[in-house]
């Protein structure tokens, strides 16, 4: 029913005009092929978001959108605190600040060729990954609060990385507004052994090779050239973030009903930004973001140690770190006026255009690096934010390939061992403790990341800079 209401607005941009309880339209960024395959649930969920109080401009779905909880994954929505706007735990997701960071290694492909297996072994030994894995960092409750306040800055102060790393991390590595007192003891206890762990599911650490540079000038500004070796780390806020979402969902369901908000779906759990629950969730979620930033920073350190063992001349420098499950207070122009909005990105990447004040000086002329992770058998992409995108979708774009098939369907279709063998023939070394886990993450279970990225570029949300193909993948 929703798909029939879609109207093509522009290249790779579709619109559903508001009807029933919707305050704003739904805008979908996708090409014809992606639109044909898109689940009807995405439109329904985006329309439910469009009916939430205080939403501004539109409820957006990115090219990789798929059926999520409450909000679609690949959903972006901004709310105005002065117009009764809400903040939603469901709009951020369970893995708060799940994200990607990319590192240059200073090495070219010919320098590591033939050593991929050894490198995979060293990385797999150093990086705690998978169910039940524990990090080496243990925190007392005071240290836990310091970590939740300090984020990647905390990690650097503990010796995990450099000050320069912070410059190339969103929020300079530290999300202001964190309030650890609003994070439950249960959440903190879940994190005690999980600082510096990769997690599982679609999380990974990948060594990659640059196989295409689409824009030489921006590639140069990002320090990327053909055949360079890079590292990509995909993970989030671990048990702490999951528990924050678990803790606040029922509180927000209750708050929504107390404030007379009718929710079409309980996963839309939300509270007015200007309410106790809303403010407390924001403080806890910011702490969750810091947890994820600290986690990726510690993993960066471990990756550097692993490379140093095999390649003493390698120098791993941070290209950028993006989070794709967040709610952030940002200033955007609405009807000619600057407004502070609570921008929810759930499975969507911030993609600020050139000149944005939050970017480091050297990136201001070219825009924010946008990191799009693929699957273990396909490519990942680095894009850059555009000025146009600031206006189109609050400076946001897609975050990955997006699943096309359920986990159970994937395990029926593929066996982990076959995938590992097949990828080995393509020269990709996979390290993972569970064959079923590998089957569930089969490259074929995802949409074609190239199609998603091309649609994103056509829509004007971001511009392609480089393509990276995997050499080694340590699966979570």
């Amino acid at each position: 029913m929703f798909a029939q209401k879609l109207q093509k607005q522009a290249e790779a941009q579709w619109r559903i005009e508001p009807f029933d309880r919707m305050h704003v339209p739904v805008v979908v960024f996708a090409d014809e092929e992606l639109i044909r395959e898109m689940d009807e649930q995405v439109y329904l969920q985006a329309a439910n978001v469009a009916a939430l109080p205080g939403i501004v401009k539109a409820s957006y779905a990115m090219a990789d959108a798929h059926w999520g909880y409450g909000f679609p994954i690949g959903g972006v929505a901004a709310f105005d605190p002065d117009a009764g706007g809400i903040i939603s735990a469901g709009g951020v997701g369970f893995d708060i600040s799940c994200g990607v960071r990319a590192l240059r290694t200073g090495l070219t492909y010919d320098q590591i060729q033939g050593n991929e297996k050894e490198l995979a072994d060293v990385l797999a030994r150093r990086i705690p990954a998978g169910v039940g894995s524990e990090g080496k960092v243990r925190l007392s409750s005071l240290e836990m609060d310091d970590m939740l306040m300090g984020g990647a800055l905390w990690a650097v102060e503990q010796g995990y990385g450099t000050r320069t790393d912070l410059k190339y991390t969103e929020e300079n590595g530290r999300m202001l507004g964190a309030e650890p007192r609003y994070v439950s003891d249960h959440a903190k206890q879940r994190q005690e052994k999980e600082v510096g762990t990769l997690g599982s599911g679609n999380h990974y650490l990948e060594v990659q090779r640059v196989t295409a540079v689409y824009d030489e000038a921006i590639g140069k500004a990002f320090g990327l050239a053909l055949n360079d070796v890079t590292v990509m780390i995909h993970c989030g806020s671990r048990g702490l973030g999951h528990q924050i979402a678990t803790d606040y969902a029922p509180r927000m369901i209750k708050a929504a009903s107390e404030h007379g908000l009718e929710l079409a779906d309980r996963e839309l759990a939300c509270a007015p930004i200007k309410s106790d629950v809303g403010r407390q969730y924001y403080g806890a979620m910011c702490a969750g973001i810091n947890c994820a930033l600290a986690n990726r920073q510690v993993l960066t350190h471990l990756t550097r140690e692993a490379f140093a063992k095999l390649f003493p001349r390698a120098e791993l420098t941070l290209l950028y770190d993006v989070s794709h499950n967040t709610c952030k207070v940002e200033e955007h122009e609405i009807d000619g006026k600057r407004k502070k909005l609570y921008v929810h990105r759930k499975g969507a990447t911030r993609a600020f255009g050139p000149g944005h004040p939050s970017l480091p000086e050297d990136l201001k002329p070219v825009g924010q690096p946008v990191l799009i992770g693929g699957t273990m058998g396909t490519a990942s992409y680095i894009l850059t934010g555009t000025e146009e995108g600031m206006d189109l979708a609050f400076g946001s774009c897609c975050h990955g390939a997006g699943r096309a098939m359920s986990r159970s369907a994937a395990t029926k279709r593929w066996h982990g061992k076959d995938i590992v063998m097949h990828l080995a023939q393509k020269g990709i070394v996979i390290k993972g403790s569970s064959m079923r886990g590998i089957a569930e993450e089969a490259p074929g279970a995802y949409k074609d990341v190239s199609v998603v990225v091309d649609a994103t570029e056509k829509a004007g949300l971001a511009r392609k800079v480089a393509r990276l193909e995997p050499l080694v993948c340590v699966k979570g």
């Binding site: 369970f94 998978g130 039940g132 879940r190 599982s200 678990t246 779906d265 359920s406």
Partner: protein, 140 residues
């Protein structure tokens, strides 16, 4: 009267867990086995240590959420997997005993960790024949 059972059901990105039984508590216990099945084969998990869990909540569906969230918390903080459950109703909620053992990566080959139980697909209900069903989608 049906025999109690559990099953997994499909979701585009994640996975659904379902427990069925003659009582609400049995349905919850079966759903907990399904939760373990998302991670590993429950048959591989030996019931060697017991953990006690108490959940207080009036609403059946919210109680089910609390039960699963408490289990996830115990699994995460203790580094354990569980395979056998006994649940009894108490005033305003439930008291449960869960048996399991620490995660053994070699033997359990855990496929994925469960991040959270979600309200998506959430149902706790009794059918006309008197059987209870408890289900939801979990985020992995």
């Amino acid at each position: 009267m049906t025999t109690a059972y559990w099953e997994l059901f499909s979701h585009p990105a994640d996975i659904g867990i379902r427990g069925v039984g003659p009582t609400k508590e049995e349905a919850f216990a079966q759903a907990a086995i399904a939760l373990t099945a998302v991670i590993t084969d429950p048959e591989k998990v030996r019931p060697r240590e017991v953990v006690e869990i108490v959940c207080i909540e009036q609403d059946d569906e919210l109680l089910f959420m609390k039960w699963l969230s408490s289990l996830l918390y115990e699994m995460d903080t203790r580094g354990m997997l569980f395979s056998r459950f006994e649940i009894e109703p108490i005033e305003g909620g439930l008291r449960a005993r869960a048996w399991g053992e620490p995660v053994d990566v070699e033997r359990h080959e855990p496929a994925v960790e469960v991040k959270a139980a979600t309200y998506a697909g959430l149902k706790v209900k009794k059918d006309d024949a008197g059987n209870w069903l408890a289900q939801c989608i979990v985020d992995v």
